[in-house]
Symmetry: C2
Subunit: 334 residues, 2 copies
């Protein structure tokens, strides 16, 4: 029999579809990705081609030769840009719109065209997370900005055809309804229990242990009880911190460590799958923000959503998170 599980952070249900049960190994990618060169002359993210990109907003460079290790640029085709204003407009006497105000930047994670994030040294991941924190904190202080989302698309099934490893930050002038719901759920939980939802979830996950993938001094990584898709992995800080911008430098090193191991386990265990990750924080100036805790979600893109999932918001997951977590936990990556 299948099971319906409720995601405590959204109150949405997930179907753990046991009749269609798969084993973790059934999700291993069959076809190898094409080999890439270390440098591509036509790639705007490769060193020497810096003039092909919009202006740089940040870079970390080696002292001796001034070569960049990580470079942040404005997105050449920004989804949102800092022009216009945030006044709501009425369209056709009924519909609401506003200018597409915002900030959209790209983090070029490495000078090497073929270096996947999962295969970076720890120091490289630390650089990238430092860049996230620095640009996050710059953006969240812009007056019109309500929320900053950090995310990565890796591979065609994850929505990118750009090969050179990169991630993105988008600052929005509105709070997405989906996240507003999540914040409301967290605030209501605090109201009725007097304790924090994410703290309680993390401590119950640790106590149970069945879905834990890895734990460090400052973070825990697990496959959530109501995993919306196979191998969905959450990395949550152990301290109550609502905004990624507040992460300490020590914790940032710890996050680099756990993120790198998780990505390497996915890379080895599922044969280099396409994936997204996203870091969600509380909105700027949210009065209930203590009820929310920033976290990172890694979502391997293994199965396409069906019409049922699009139409209902209830995902079908054909594998039990306890099993995928065990698979990940027991994998050795040296």
């Amino acid at each position: 029999m299948s099971e319906l599980r409720q995601d405590p952070t959204t109150e949405e249900w997930v179907i753990i579809a046991r009749e269609r049960a798969k084993r973790p190994a059934d999700f291993v990618r069959q076809q190898a990705k094409p080999e890439l060169p270390v440098f591509s002359a036509s790639c705007p993210f490769c060193p020497g081609n810096e003039a092909m990109t919009p202006p740089e907003t940040l870079s970390y460079r080696d002292k001796e030769n001034q070569k960049w290790r990580v470079r942040v640029i404005s997105n050449q085709f920004p989804a949102l840009s800092p022009e216009g204003n945030t006044a709501r407009k009425l369209n056709d006497d009924f519909f609401i719109s506003m200018d597409g105000m915002g900030i959209h930047e790209v983090v070029i994670e490495t000078p090497e065209h073929n270096k996947a994030l999962a295969l970076q040294e720890k120091s490289g991941v630390v650089d990238i997370l430092h860049a996230y924190r620095e640009r996050y904190n710059a953006m969240i202080r812009v007056p019109f900005v309500k929320l900053v989302i950090i995310y990565k698309n890796y591979g065609p099934m994850a929505g990118t055809t750009l090969e050179h490893s990169h991630s993105q930050l988008v600052a929005t002038p509105v709070i997405p309804k989906q996240l507003r719901t999540q914040h409301k759920v967290a605030a209501r939980y605090y109201g009725s229990t007097g304790s924090y939802l994410y703290a309680d979830m993390v401590s119950h996950e640790i106590k149970s242990g069945k879905r834990i993938v890895m734990e460090t001094g400052s973070f825990v990584a697990f496959h959530p009880f109501a995993s919306h898709s196979a191998f969905e992995t959450w990395i949550v800080p152990k301290v109550n911190q609502s905004s990624f911008g507040d992460i300490s430098t020590n914790d940032l090193e710890d996050l680099a460590h756990i993120l790198r191991i998780i990505l390497l386990k996915l890379h080895r265990g599922l044969n280099n799958p396409d994936f997204n990750y996203v870091i969600n924080s509380a909105p700027a100036g949210d009065e209930d923000k203590n009820c929310f805790r920033w976290h990172m979600r890694i979502i391997p893109r293994l199965i396409e959503l069906s019409g049922f999932e699009i139409g209902s918001g209830i995902n079908m997951n054909a594998v039990v998170p306890e099993e995928t977590a065990k698979f990940m936990r027991e994998m050795k990556v040296g």
Copy 2:
């Protein structure tokens, strides 16, 4: 400059990303789908292979030779099944789950292995919609059922690898949070305006005309103001009807006509794209159900979701719905 548009039915924002602007013709599928045979010996949905499927719950047959035109069966690998009970269970002292109770059926839309729905005669589409109504009404009357969702997956990007044209009904014992939100928005709109959200949306769409694809006596098809993805098409009845099960036989013929033309336009215009559709109705026994109107959403699967969209719920749409609607409106399908 890009534009943020708000979906009035969910209050979620969509980015119409003009910097990445595409033309409707940019979405035409490049690679042809493989040709299929009219009969496949290994296909459980083909005539003669009926014993390969779970029991039939409905079929429409020709009087003279008793051959079926449409056949409804229990899903062999049901996501939900009518065993167990709806009691909530506590897991690890914290998480909520319940038995995966429900009903999951498959509508085999045609005996011909290679007949796509878009290429059916009108009488074939009428049969399929009759089957939807009949099974919807049987399921919604089952005591534990809260909601019945009708949907179709067509092609690998839409979540199916089954070639033989089919669609599905799932009856759930819970109301998905996503739909609960949509119903709340509609009820709140009624509370503050005294009129119905879907009625007002439809009448403003008709008055504006810019996003209309087609109109019949009983239905209007349009690309919504805040289309979440390119060529997203809504078909909405002109009468205030909360449940698909209440559609009249006359309206059902009219729906078959408009659905067939829309699918044929997508098939011809975008070269046989993968797509989903879903029919959403109000939940059983919802006291505010008059505020909601059932509708059909057709979602061509042209672009993969990115990490931003998964993480925020705000979709990026690279084409303006006014342009795609014009493209669809002006296309002649004979």
